[in-house]
Amino acid sequence: MNEFSRRKFLGTGGAALAAATVTTPAMALTEAAARRLVDQVVADINRVISSGKSLGGMISDFERIFRSYADVNIIARSTLGADSRRASPAQLRAYTDAFRGYIARKYGKRFREFQGGEIVVRSVRRARSWQEVISTVKLPGKQPFEVKFLVSDKSGSDKFFDMIIEGISLRLTERDEIGAMLDQRGGDINALISDLKRAG
């Protein structure tokens, strides 16, 4: 390593350290607010599960829950990963819309498996700039499992930006899935968008 790059390196490292110490995150979002949001989400989900609706009904219910309580913009952008930086604003909008429908179809049809079950909010803990709300899902005849919601107010309102089932993050799993789809289409974002409208 030559002198210049070493100094530059130390400089960057120092700046990063300074930034890390100065920016103790101002916690705007309280535990109570995060819990309130997830309580609403869970109440809505429990209602859908017990309604015994048809598949189509459940999918549109899930899309409604996703639209009103999740920060779909950031989830969509995050699943696109680094590729979101080369997408035009119009592409990003089209992608976000297609993504919302895709998620609703893909996960909405799985809602049936929750029938007869119940979700209970258990605890809230703070992590970095967001709150993690931990809940337990109890299904008849199965071991209870954990679902965690990550809640942030950085979008301007309190929304969840990830849902983690037994450690499996919806956002990170879909990022791998979208990455694979992009690879298969040679990185063509427009092709991805039009295929995503039918996927799920």
Binding site: F9, R85, R128, E132, G167, L172, E177, Q184
Partner: protein
């Protein structure tokens, strides 16, 4: 400090050139194993699992699964001891005693009905993790499916850590194996939709199973040992960035 920054810089390749963030140097070979496993699932395991779930009444399926889970407890107890997890070893021992006696050899699960602590599911892969062994490259094993190098070693050792293998005479010692195959089939049948969606509906079933396996395995490794679970991405112990933080990066910062 510079060393630390350098290390972090090396550990995180530029996301602009890499969509995959998993350590998978044997991807080519793994993909071959994956396509073998997938065709095996399609031809044998999936139909067998569905057939099993359909043919066997739910109650019997549950009894067989419980029996198999009860037999796995002595192995978990050994691993809890190896991990220095006295509490886990104790709760698993009580569970085993209660379910073996009151539960008539493990066919019933009075321990859960009595609200006793959940079983730890400790295995040797987890023991290696607590001993500080690195996860190592991702591996997909024939028949057994997704794994890491550490867990592959763990699975091999687990064949020998269950004391029942030594304690039971010859025909009885196979009951456990038969029960665990049956409960595996039962799981394949019961979680059919979930597994199908990963293997047959995702864009890249290899990448999807790798991603889901690693996330879930890392979650389980940290669970039950600490209130705030350990960092599944296993940064070095004592890492200043750890602790208060979360394992998930902030998507708003990107």
């Amino acid at each position: 400090m510079a060393v630390l920054v350098l290390l972090t810089a090396c550990a995180k390749p530029d996301p602009a050139v890499m969509r995959q963030t998993h350590y998978d140097p044997w991807e080519e070979e793994n993909r071959e194993v994956h396509s073998f496993n997938r065709s095996l699932d399609r031809a044998v395991v999936r139909p067998a699992g569905k057939g099993y779930t359909k043919a066997v009444p739910d109650d019997i399926e549950l009894v067989v699964t419980r029996f198999s889970e009860n037999l796995s407890l002595p192995g978990a107890i050994v691993n809890n001891i190896l991990q220095g997890n006295g509490l886990g070893a104790t709760t698993d021992t009580y569970r085993f005693l209660v379910n073996t006696t009151l539960g008539l050899g493990g066919f019933f699960d009075p321990a859960t009905e009595l609200n006793m602590p959940a079983k730890t599911d400790a295995d040797f892969g987890q023991t290696l993790y607590t001993w500080g062994i690195n996860e190592g490259p991702y591996m997909e094993l024939p028949l057994l499916g997704p794994s890491t190098t550490r867990d592959a070693v763990g699975k091999t050792v687990d064949l020998f850590t269950n004391p029942l293998t030594y304690a039971l005479p010859s025909p009885e010692s196979y009951y456990g194996t038969a029960a665990s195959v049956s409960s595996g089939l039962s799981a394949r049948g019961q979680y059919s939709d979930t597994i199908d969606s990963i293997l047959y509906e995702s864009a890249d079933s290899y990448a999807a199973s790798r991603s889901i396996y690693l996330q879930n395995r890392r979650f389980k490794l940290g669970k039950g040992r600490d209130e705030t679970y350990l960092d599944p991405y296993e940064s070095v112990a004592g890492d200043p960035y750890e602790g208060a933080g979360s394992v998930y990066e902030d998507p708003y910062d990107e």
